[in-house]
């Protein structure tokens, strides 16, 4: 298969019409020394049948029929069929960035709806059209905070997802920002350590809500400390279904970012996901990424268009607010359809399912003598101390149960602690089975 319609006859006719004798003449501007003399060492082409069988075989090398009790940045939620069918419309997925608005009203209106939903969900004024993923959105938010405050120290809570902290650290190093971690205490960001580390160079503090351990952070108290210091608070929500029941972070923060995978996108071995970013009106011009705005045509018809592009790289080049060009529009479309399908009542109900089920599992594990490590409010993830995490994990895996995640590799002080995640897809029967296995081996 090569997906090339023109035949040799077509090619010959075309060459002749433009006065060339052979295909190789098309490449005569490339120095002969670097023209390949041999074929690429890539396997020969395949038929559609052969290709599908090959890839099906590779996909089956992954085991995916576990009972999943693992989240940590990638959440297994049910994806309604309507979401899959809309994002499979090739009028959406085979388009480029909507540079020609008259021909792209579909995706532009959908992104305008997306921006509205994100603002409502997070309690913010303006949302961009998406970034790569939650971790890069969090990293971009550091640069934005530094530009706003003209300060260059970034405080980062240690209760943030370890992968996210690593991405932030890399970006900070590249952008010459100082990366300073703030410790946690009893499962939430330590106010004492924050007070110790905050200073007049502090641009912002990064927090995760609920944090990596699943605990709900006290945004109000922390935001006061930062704002009194002239610093910002950037809050990251990695499991946004939590916003069906938890107070939105917008009220107490200046920039919110999020990972939108939970909202209608599959876990897909880590990507593509959806970077969410929203902020207050006053910081609009510092916001990175595309924005869709409403306008009219000459006849007064309402239409949507990419706007405020003077912030962006193709106009401002080295003075742009970010280098971002491609984003994750299709994942944003999935989130838009997902949030429309659930609506206000559905998202609340979904959040309650996750909340009650997670607490059921936590209660049952406590009953059999496991301890819940932190006594804080949590949504659908929580940390459990067991005698030997390796043994427990193995026993569970042998019975087809995956999780919780052994977080000792990220936090040596939290050795033998498993981070469990429960969603609406986990049944009571599954949870009872999990508890029974742990009871036997702990």
């Amino acid at each position: 298969m090569d997906f090339i319609p023109n035949t040799n006859k077509d090619r010959e006719a075309m060459l002749k019409e433009i006065g060339l004798k052979s295909i190789s003449e098309l490449f005569r501007d490339i120095p002969d020394r670097i023209i390949l003399k041999d074929k690429l060492k890539i396997p020969a082409s395949m038929s559609e049948v052969g290709l599908f069988e090959l890839l099906k075989g590779i996909s089956k090398m992954n085991k995916v029929d576990f009972s999943y009790f693992i989240g940590a940045g990638a959440y297994k939620h049910f994806i309604p069929s309507v979401v899959k069918h809309i994002v499979a419309r090739s009028e959406f997925y085979t388009t480029y960035t909507p540079y020609q608005p008259e021909m792209s009203q579909g995706i532009l209106q959908a992104i305008y709806e997306y921006q509205t939903m994100i603002c409502n969900l997070f309690g913010m004024d303006v949302s961009n059209a998406s970034l790569y993923d939650g971790a890069t959105a969090l990293a971009e938010s550091c640069i934005m905070a530094s530009n706003i405050t003209k300060r260059n120290e970034i405080l980062v809570s240690r209760a943030i997802h370890p992968d996210y902290r690593q991405v932030v650290k890399t970006y900070c190093w590249a952008h010459n920002l100082k990366f300073v971690e703030v410790d946690y205490s009893d499962g939430v960001t330590s106010i004492d350590d924050l007070k110790l580390k905050i200073n007049k160079r502090t641009a912002t503090l990064l927090l995760q809500q609920p944090n990596f351990f699943g605990c709900v952070e006290n945004l109000r108290g922390i935001s006061d400390i930062l704002h009194r210091n002239g610093s910002l608070l950037n809050v990251c929500v990695i499991e946004p279904t939590s916003l069906g029941i938890l107070k939105p972070p917008g009220e107490h923060s200046d920039i919110v970012v999020g990972e939108g995978q939970s909202l209608g996108n599959p876990v897909s071995f880590g990507g593509p996901y959806l970077g969410i970013m929203a902020t207050k009106h006053r910081y609009l011009r510092q916001l990175p990424g595309r924005l869709v705005g409403k306008t009219t045509d000459g006849n007064g018809n309402i239409g949507y268009i990419l706007t405020l592009q003077a912030r962006e790289q193709h106009i401002r080049r080295e003075r742009a607010s970010s280098n971002i060009c491609s984003n994750e529009a299709l994942c944003a479309l999935a989130a838009t359809v997902y949030l429309s399908a659930l609506g206000k009542n559905g998202l609340r109900k979904l959040a309650e399912l996750c909340l009650y089920k997670a607490h059921y599992l936590a209660d049952r594990l406590e009953e059999i003598g496991c301890s819940i490590v932190f006594e804080q409010e949590f949504y659908n993830e929580f940390l459990v101390k067991v005698k030997d995490a390796k043994t427990v994990s193995k026993k569970l895996l042998d019975s087809g149960i995956l999780g919780g995640l052994d977080i000792g590799v990220y936090y040596p002080e939290l050795n033998n602690c498993l981070l469990f995640c429960v969603t609406e897809l986990n049944t009571k029967e599954e949870m009872d089975r999990l508890v029974e296995i742990i009871r036997k081996c702990n």
Binding site: F3, P31, K39, L40, M46, L55, N62, K63, Y93, D163
Partner: protein, 473 residues
């Protein structure tokens, strides 16, 4: 057309959730942390589907027609790849789970195939898009000079480069220095020799460049840079022209990013997700993002390298996109890749030769995958925007316009290899017709398009009073 919010009716819902099978417990979340209101639309499934299907009908993709958007390589996206990327074993695989040998194998093999195609020694699939790849590449450059104890601050970019190149340089803490192109639209060697100094970390080159022209002095350029101790970065957005013809490593390129969503046929999704793998020569391999995939004793594993720049994205990159690129490369195979480049370049030259007497072609030379026309000499005040908007009425997606900046009213045209001669001939006829309209009925062009749900939109109004969200009040 109404927004989904305007179709909302209290009490409707578009999904059915499972019943709660555990006891309900009150008071888990304290009042302080509890959400009181949540404004989201309430719609039933039929309303929902009709709404978004109607929106899809107001969109135009490669599947709808010709899409010669220059530098974006809008080739056909094979349907089989969509089916493959949806296989349960891929979409349901959790990034932190064991037993993911299939995902790791696919990524490992794709890295190797990209190495073979470009001649580079190692690849990472972590960057999520081209600009993200640029940033990653620049971080590697920074780490390389840090290790050598050199504090080089400057990145040279030609004035024809993508805007992302200078923007990425700034993001990575470098200073951008713009290099003026010569009258052939290429790097001016004398100018390069004049501005180069020991503070220059690297040059970022797009090959072929954004005029679609291959840098004839590429070997001299890389030699000058290396002699200065600098590195050469290649923006691989235009790699479609070179597949199986020449390898960037043989030109002296040290770092390259590829755009899987251009060259390797993965769809653009209305602006993303993309994937921007970065390849490097051996001396830079240790700086690639963590984790890296290794294959040892019949097993694929992830390892962390202490010299690495760190992570640039959560987990391992846009895996679902890389599945499609892998499957594309396996489908077309070695000979097919070369054929892609040949046909892409033939199609572009065919259009260029047929259109150069109708419109001004500022750089009249052999092109690779694309070429750039100018709106100079158009009559009756007709501009590039007018041409673009009129193309819409003929069912063709406009070319890239007003880029590169070095051409007045640039129209950058990239047909790709997946278009037939008939489609190209139709485009040539339409472009001729529009040129005649510019002469005889210019108002048609000034007011186009006429065939779309909305007419030409007021961009100034949108920017002056930004309305970025719906409000029911």
């Amino acid at each position: 057309m109404q927004l989904i919010f305007e179709k909302s009716r209290a009490g409707r819902i578009g999904v059915s959730l499972p019943e709660l099978d555990v006891p309900k417990r009150d008071g888990i979340i304290s009042k302080d942390n509890l959400r009181d209101e949540l404004e989201l639309p309430e719609v039933d499934e039929v309303t929902l589907i009709r709404h978004y299907i109607e929106l899809s009908r107001r969109n135009f993709g490669v599947d709808n027609g010709f899409y010669p958007l220059g530098s974006c390589t809008m080739k056909y996206n094979p349907k089989i790849n969509e089916d493959i990327a949806k296989l349960e074993g891929f979409v349901e695989c959790h990034p932190l789970q064991p037993n993911a040998q299939g995902c790791l194998r696919l990524m490992y093999e794709l890295e190797n195939m990209l190495c073979e195609i470009t001649g580079m020694d190692a690849f990472t699939l972590q960057p999520a898009a081209g600009a993200h790849g640029e940033l990653t590449g620049l971080m590697i450059i920074k780490a390389y000079f840090n290790e050598k104890g050199e504090d080089r601050k400057i990145i040279i970019t030609p004035d024809s480069s993508h805007g992302t190149n200078p923007a990425s340089s700034t993001m990575c803490g470098f200073r951008n220095m713009t290099l003026k192109s010569n009258d052939k639209g290429q790097i001016d060697l004398d100018e390069l020799k004049k501005i180069i100094n020991k503070d220059v970390a690297a040059i970022m080159l797009t090959i072929p460049n954004t005029l679609g022209i291959f840098e004839e002095h590429i070997l001299e350029i890389t030699k000058i840079m290396h002699k200065n101790g600098s590195l050469v970065y290649m923006d691989g957005a235009n790699m479609n022209a070179l597949l199986g013809v020449t390898k960037p490593a043989d030109m002296g390129i040290d770092i390259i990013h590829l755009n899987l969503h251009k060259t390797f046929s993965t769809p653009h999704g209305g602006g993303g997700p993309g994937s921007g793998p970065v390849g490097v020569v051996k001396t830079l391999e240790r700086f690639l993002p963590n984790p890296r995939i290794i294959f040892k004793e019949g097993k694929y594993n992830l390892i962390n390298n202490p010299k690495s720049i760190g992570k640039v994205k959560s987990f391992y990159g846009n895996f679902g996109v890389t599945v499609k690129a892998y499957s594309y490369i396996r489908a077309v195979g070695s000979d097919g890749l070369r054929k892609v480049a040949e046909n892409a370049v033939l199609n572009a030259n065919y259009l260029k030769e047929k259109l150069k007497d109708v419109y001004v072609l500022p750089y009249n030379s052999l092109c690779k995958h694309e070429f750039v026309l100018s709106d100079e000499a158009l009559p009756n005040g007709v501009t590039t925007t007018d041409i673009a908007k009129r193309l819409i009425d003929y069912g063709i997606h406009p070319m890239t316009i007003y880029f590169p900046l070095i051409v007045h009213g640039a129209m950058m045209i990239e047909p790709t290899e997946t278009e037939s001669k008939e489609t190209l001939d139709y485009f040539i006829r339409v472009m001729g017709k529009i040129r005649a309209e510019a002469e005889n009925k210019p108002e048609l062009l000034h007011n186009a398009p006429f065939s779309m749900p909305v007419g030409r939109l007021d961009a100034v109004r949108a920017a002056r009073n930004p309305d970025l969200r719906y409000s029911s009040n």
